[in-house]
């Protein structure tokens, strides 16, 4: 396409992450990842000579506010590209707006899969990129009896449905299941943890998100339970939540993610170094921040080629493209518009970082509807099912 000639007018983009409310701990880091990428791009001269200008709103952890701000961004601010959303409920609130007005939402968070929108680019993991391998490793190392704890909304219910399938069909059992409301208080986790203690599972699978994560792991520690024999496993507990709950509380628990701060490659080393320089030495990167960061770079690289913010043109150009991300080489899968990401499983250590337990040899093709996956983990488990 033609390079922009004489205009230096900024490219305006929308940014929707909560800085307040019970999701602020993780969404704040996604905001930082987004703004860091934008600042770096602008410092290097912008895209085709024009800077990126973020229009930022704080939906305050309230799903319907995401829908309202998405409308405001598209209708009043004239923005068509939006970076944002952590929870599935907030994504589903933005979906009708970007679909009707033909915008493009870049969604940097793992989620339960089983969705496809021509108006969303998904850059977080789906179950085939985290749950499948996590389940296999948990059953191998800790045992077959699982207890599910989740926040009461779409993502936990759906993730547990998939996890349950994998566990049952591989000869395991779900011995208990509890849900706490979104934004639950500390006290609400005590009866849940007592029930866990009674049920004596081998593994606790947690889909609690936000502040609840901190309360859950702290309640676990307060009851004197031992992560060596009964760890909490999660798809959402990152370095940010571990820091909030205390390194001693988080130690020994398991998380599956495409990215941990400890990923060893040159790209990540400089990413982490720059991040710490900007935000302080005790600040860690995490998977949601990393996805937020690389998706802005993916967008900018695409925009450089299209020189147009038109959704149809941008989308057509980004599909199938490959990028170097801190987690390693990734791609936007041309069939699904979901990113092909790395699978990694880590165990938290005393320094609040994750020691790698498993790493895929390369990025794993996204398969949001689990079309290529059976319902058990492997041939060897089949006769047990």
């Amino acid at each position: 396409m033609t390079r922009s000639s004489n205009t230096s007018e900024p490219w305006r983009v929308g940014v929707l992450f909560s800085r307040t409310g019970f999701m602020a701990v993780i969404e704040e880091t996604q905001l930082r990842g987004t703004l860091t990428a934008i600042e770096e791009i602008n410092a290097a001269g912008g895209v085709n000579g024009r800077p990126l200008e973020p229009v930022v709103y704080d939906p305050g952890s309230e799903a319907s506010a995401f829908g309202r701000y998405a409308k405001k961004l598209m209708v009043e601010d004239g923005v068509s590209t939006i970076f944002g959303c952590y929870t599935s409920s907030s994504r589903k609130a933005v979906l009708p707006v970007v679909e009707r007005l033909n915008g493009l939402l870049w969604y940097p968070t793992l989620y339960e899969g089983f969705e496809f929108s021509p108006n969303v680019i998904y850059t977080g993991a789906t179950p085939n990129q985290n749950s499948v391998e996590l389940c296999r490793i948990l059953m191998e190392r800790y045992g077959t009896r699982f207890y599910f704890i989740g926040a009461d909304y779409i993502y936990p219910r759906e993730s547990n449905r998939i996890m349950r399938e994998l566990i049952r069909n591989s000869g395991g059992t779900v011995v208990g299941e509890s849900y706490v409301r979104m934004g639950a208080s500390r006290e609400e986790f005590l009866p849940v943890m007592r029930d866990v203690k009674r049920a004596q599972p081998d593994v606790i699978f947690s889909t609690v998100v936000g502040d609840g994560t901190v309360y859950l792991y702290q309640a676990y520690a307060d009851l004197g339970l031992d992560p060596k024999v009964m760890p909490i496993a999660s798809l959402t507990t990152t370095e940010a939540e571990i820091r909030a709950m205390g390194y001693d509380v988080g130690e020994g628990h398991i998380t599956a993610a495409p990215y941990f701060q400890g990923v060893g490659n040159e790209r990540n080393s400089s990413f982490v170094r720059d991040y710490k320089k900007r935000y302080g030495d005790d600040e860690s990167t995490n998977m949601c921040l990393e996805a937020s960061y690389f998706q802005v770079n993916a967008f900018a690289k695409t925009l450089e080629q299209t020189n147009s913010m038109d959704t149809e043109i941008l989308r057509a150009s980004v599909m199938g493209s490959e990028f170097e991300a801190p987690q390693g080489d990734v791609a936007i899968n041309p069939i699904w518009g979901h990113a092909d990401l790395w699978t990694r499983i880590g165990r938290a250590n005393r320094q609040g970082q994750f020691d790698l337990v498993y790493e895929s040899p390369s990025c794993v093709l996204s398969d949001p509807y689990l079309l290529g996956y059976g319902r058990s983990l492997g041939q060897k488990n089949l006769e047990l099912a």
Partner: protein, 222 residues
Amino acid sequence: MQETIDIARFARERQGAGTKKDAGGRDAPSGPPSSRSFWNLKVAVIVDRNDDGERLIRELQRLRCDVHHEWPMPSQIPAQYDVVFCVLSPDLPQRLPWIPGEPASALVVIDPGAGMLDLNLLHNCAAHGVLHYPVTPRSVQSTLALARGHFLYERRLRGRIEKLDESLRTMRSVERAKSLLMRLKNVSEEEAYNYLRRQAMERRVTIGAVASAIIDSYELLG
């Protein structure tokens, strides 16, 4: 919508000219007997009651719509009507109580005809139709029919997608229940499906619910 129009035309042709209320023996484009789909449609009209506005309201009343007029424009457009006719104002998108993509009613915006037409504003309203002053009976009827038709079609599509999403999830549990039944009862695939279907009919629940119950109880029994 296509169907409705055809039926309406069919009805008119069958009834013939004799039933027309229009005076003067004119071959009116259409009249109340041919537009029954408009009867009692709850329509909000948010326009200034000038000559143009009066003409629009009169035409809607003649079509037997249940018309509710409001002016000046409220800060929130009411959401409890089937169709809303509203003058296009620069802040109309903000006055709409719904988010684009999830409208509560069909929206027809009225272009007052002065100044430059703002296509971007039109896009942001996500309207189902546009009407221009001065209105004619023909323009009101066709716009009303198409707007209502598009709105209902959109709603059906949204419902279909919702249903598809749900079915996708159900299918996995049905498959799981099927293979459980095949193994436990030593039956064929076809028999397993038949069993699920029969149970669902007898209990008056969905197949998905039966499948989940079977999976759950299998788990309980160990």
